[in-house]
């Protein structure tokens, strides 16, 4: 687990690549009990809702954003706040990359703030996020 005293604004968190598949999307939607057809029914998604392809769940991207922080913190980490926005849709077949950077360190409260992102293959931030974590000095 990182220590507050070793952190600087600008410290980067490890990046990770996600390549969702029809199987991983199926399992995610089964786990959250979600039958929204835009996540598995390609003809409905493209013909009725007019998307270019099967849509990767926004909250799944939210989960991957939270993992940027939880993996960095390790097994004993303490997440205090977490938020994200789904700004741009992502479609099955895209390769996504998550990452983050420390934007504030506050020794008085023992917390650090991290900006988070998921980028698509074109490098556009499709889901930005932010987290506050509590760390030992």
């Amino acid at each position: 687990m990182p220590r507050l005293s070793t952190l600087d604004v600008g410290t980067r968190l490890p990046e990770r690549t996600f390549e969702p598949t029809s199987v991983s999307l199926f399992l995610y939607n089964a786990a959250i009990w979600n039958a929204h057809r835009i996540h598995f029914d390609e003809s409905y998604t493209t013909e009725v809702e007019q998307y270019p392809g099967v849509v990767v769940d926004g909250p799944l991207q939210g989960d991957w954003l939270s993992q940027v922080v939880t993996e960095w913190l390790g097994e004993d980490g303490e997440l205090v706040e977490f938020e994200y926005s789904n700004r741009k849709a992502s479609y099955l077949g895209e390769r996504l990359r998550s990452g983050g950077v420390v934007t504030a360190v506050d020794p008085a409260t023992g917390t650090a703030t991290v900006d988070l992102h998921i980028k698509n293959a074109q490098g556009a931030v499709i889901s930005p996020g932010r987290a506050v974590v509590r760390l030992r000095a």
Binding site: W33, A35, R37, L60, D63, T70, E81, E83, Y84, S85
Partner: protein, 151 residues
């Protein structure tokens, strides 16, 4: 600003669902952890729930015949809206206690706002919910603000 949000629609703001009581099982955490490709052992073993584990956990489980034609469950905390296609918007969480296998949680959701915005390809309706998650003993576990977008 447009006129999609009628006074009748706006009058729903402030309403709450009946509290939803859920039992957190190790197996459900493990399934969620696999589906989301978690790497930490505490999640993979199902000891503790990942931060986004409770996504949609407040929903009433309804028969297939009662789902919408797009597969979504009918949100009884919303009036009929003039836009019907749903997109995820985003979430804000504040965490107070870890959620562990075996916990019993009480989830209470309140509709806190409905507003309209002009998107690049037409009007959008934003719906905002606040959800409070407590332990059976009434200890605050987590608070959530969630936005859904109708287009």
């Amino acid at each position: 600003m447009g006129d999609l949000i009628t006074p009748e629609i706006r009058s729903w703001v402030g309403r709450s669902d009946p509290p939803q009581r859920i039992e957190v099982t190790r197996r459900d955490i493990m399934k969620y952890a696999i589906a989301t490709e978690q790497r930490l052992k505490k999640y993979r073993r199902g000891d503790e729930a990942p931060p986004m584990f409770l996504y949609d956990a407040h929903q009433s489980l309804t028969p297939i015949t009662e789902l919408r034609s797009d597969g979504l469950w009918v949100d009884t905390l919303l009036p009929e809206l003039p836009l019907t296609r749903v997109m995820a918007g985003g979430i804000r969480h504040e965490y107070y206690r870890p959620i562990k296998a075996g916990n019993v949680l009480v989830l209470t959701r309140t509709l806190t706002d409905i507003y309209e915005k002009q998107g690049t390809s037409g009007p959008l309706i934003f719906v905002v919910y606040a959800m409070r998650v407590e332990s059976e003993n009434g200890e605050l576990v987590m608070e959530e603000t969630r936005r859904r977008i109708f287009r």
